[in-house]
Amino acid sequence: MSKGKKQKKGIKRRMFLKRSGVGIGLMIGGVWLTRNPIRRTIIKTSETLVVPYAGPTSDPLLWLQITPDNNLILHSSKVEMGQGTFTGLAQIVADEMGLPIEKIKVVHAETKAGNLDPFGTGGSMSIASLWVPLREMAATLNLMLLNKAAEKLSVNPDTLRLEGGTITDGSQSLTYGQIVADVTEWDIPSTPPLKKRSEYTYLGKPVPRVDLKEKVMGAPIFGIDAEYPDMLYASVVRSRLIDAQMQNFDTTEAERMPGVIKIYQDEDFIGVIAETHIQAETARKKIKFDYNKNADWSLADIEEKITVGNGNKTIVQKEGPIVEDIDEDAEIIELAFRSSIGAHAQMEPNGAVANYQEGNLEIKVSTQVPQLTQSEVAKAMGMSKKEVNIIPTFLGGGFGRRLHTPNAIQAAKMSKAIGRPVKSFFDRQQEFQNDTFRPPTHHVMKAAVKDGEILGIEHQFASGDTLFNSAMDPGIERVVRADIGSVRGGTIIYDGMPRRATYYHVDLPFATSFWRSLGLLANAFAIESFIDELALKTKQSPVDLRLQYMRDDNPYIVRAKKVLKTCAQKAGYTDEVKDGRAMGIALTIDTGSPCAHVAEVSIVEGSIKIHKVTAVLDCGIAVNPDQVRAQVEGCVCMGISAALYEKMDLKENKLFPINYGSYDMALMRDTPKEIDVVLIEGIDKPGPVGEPPLGPIGAAISNALRRLTGERLTQMPLSAFIS
């Protein structure tokens, strides 16, 4: 006799929807959907949507494994790339199961574990999307343990209670480890009610990261640290030029280099397999080849392409007429903005370690998309998915750079060819020159202004792929036309007047893709700089002006108003320049999490100096407020880096720079001495955290500089244009 309705494992499962790409595939269908209003609806929805967890949830044992020594292993299908997800998940499970968090070990779920997540890890969705399903699985597992204990103890389950890893009726007790011992079949009851928030003890507490000790001791936890016995090392030739094919390979010299075992060559790539990493790299550099260029490219060519008016036009927000048609007496204010090509520059280069043995393949790899890696590898190898096991490792940074894992395929092919495990990694220069960059952008902002009133705002912008050709089915591209990722942060949140956003999608001759927050950083830079300019034009405080045009009672706007007010108040925002320091404020709503920044800025010896940033984020429940703060601090500093310094150049088809140092990034000395983070809980569930705080920073700095110097900087990186 047991509580809850039964399901025999493997007999009756809740059906789960198979989703494709970013999980909106299901929304697409029927030719009439290509109408613009539908497109706008899709885009509007995608701006605030928390993409639900799309993996299996019916069997808690896929996620949660009780070990005989009475501990719990949490098999996470979300990967840990620094964002702290492992810690948050452990807290959630510890709370729902009433376990001490020390008893929980979080590991990456291998693809063979079965709880594949079609969405992968990204979009700031991990904790937000698992909040309900993971608690449900934990609660269900508790009930399963309770029922099993009752069976083993031959007592009524109602007499039993859970006590931190033990189940007892007062006189006799079993540890979880004892309960699971020798159990081969489980009854899965229907989901019991979840605990009340007041019963949680870890939720909202700054629990130290569960991976802290390993990371401080230098443990071998990353993809690049993975090994197999008898492993060889490989290095693959990559193109230095964009829009060009490598041809006429001459491997004669490379073959003679010390340690070289084989030069692997197929129609897709050429790689050197050698005894040591250095031998493989050294020999790879000896391979001679030339290029067949399709066209010549310089940065000027790219900027010309990325210009409003070029490319596929989609009106993504349309409320009222265009600004020129609102009132013929109104003044039209117009400003144009640009942002650079950005590199991911994540610290661990991409690579993989593959072990092909007798029709089975195992790959250890830093990936944000284990399931996609598995299916791509299986397809390339002509194997079935179940013959390919992807073992995700800790990621030495993600930021959207690990949604493509060609290294896994290459390492697999070479391992099969040589009959031994193969480790194949890019060097840093290959990593830079073959990055999937943040696309450059161009923005034209317009407003109609009359008698100090803003009558309407329009944002026209051009950019390249971020989601297209990365994570979306090609069908979605045809239907939606506007790349949802590039549009992120691109619509006008200020209401009560005509407003429009028009997106021009441009195809670029080099790969662009996700870069933490996608279009948000650049779109917010343009829009929020422009709003600041309108405040100066209409002689209003930029805080009051924003509040005046946030009249909607939709919950995002209501929360955003509070975020803005709190930020201005906490920072002591003022329009005045004091002691050579000025403040700038900006506000964004990204993936449903409003965030505001005030940056306090001066110019020291001709260089921009950020003294303090006040950051207010409403992400709902902060499962681990310390790690939410860490994400905000990280976003602020990474945003400073992108906004002030980072840019790729292009000359004669070569993207450069191709290493740290010359790719200028913010360092310790560029970090504000003070970052004041304020968290607001505007909803009673966890919302996205990892990217929304990147939104306002560029504009906040630029707005401060405008007040300091009187000059409006319209190009990121800003430091290149400060006079």
Binding site: K215, V216, F222, Q627, A630
Partner: protein
């Protein structure tokens, strides 16, 4: 060539191309994976180790120069379970995010504190120029000050 040195207090000998960067000898030859490859041209500091007490970026340091030297890597920073003040401070301030660059930063910080036991913010800005893409600099700065304070409490460290 055969190269002999002390690493984390233990004498080791290894056969290697003397010109090969010490980084790869440490990582693959000696299987100490805490020292990271970041850039391969001494530009990011992920591979920072100590050679005779001085910080060195091992990706650009030929193995032959290690002959007879005293090498310390992140694995040798602590004495068993007795954490180095820098590591303790890193834990106290919950510094790492992805964690990849952190060993290099901790080695650079340990070297800094040896030369300047009480660094000012300016000392930190000038001497710590490693790269962290998660941009954990804000907490690192706090942790460096904390480590200085911890080291003072336990001067034996």
């Amino acid at each position: 060539m055969k190269i002999t040195f002390n690493i984390n207090g233990e004498p080791r000998s290894i056969d290697t191309d003397g010109e090969a960067p010490l980084l790869w000898v440490i990582r693959d030859g000696l299987n100490l994976k805490g020292t990271k490859y970041g850039c391969g041209k001494a530009a990011c500091g992920a591979c920072t180790i100590h050679v005779d007490g001085m910080q060195v970026r091992s990706c650009s340091y030929p193995a032959k120069f290690a002959e007879g030297k005293e090498i310390t890597t992140i694995e040798g920073l602590s004495q068993g379970d007795n954490l180095h003040p820098v590591q303790q401070a890193w834990i106290d301030e919950v510094v790492p995010q992805c964690g990849y660059c952190q060993p290099g930063f901790m080695m650079a910080t340990a070297a800094l504190l040896k030369e300047i036991p009480n660094p000012t913010d300016e000392d930190i800005d000038n001497n710590i120029i490693n790269v962290c893409r998660c941009a954990t600099y804000y907490r690192m700065r706090k942790a460096i000050h904390k480590a200085a304070a911890l080291a003072k409490q336990n001067p034996s460290e």
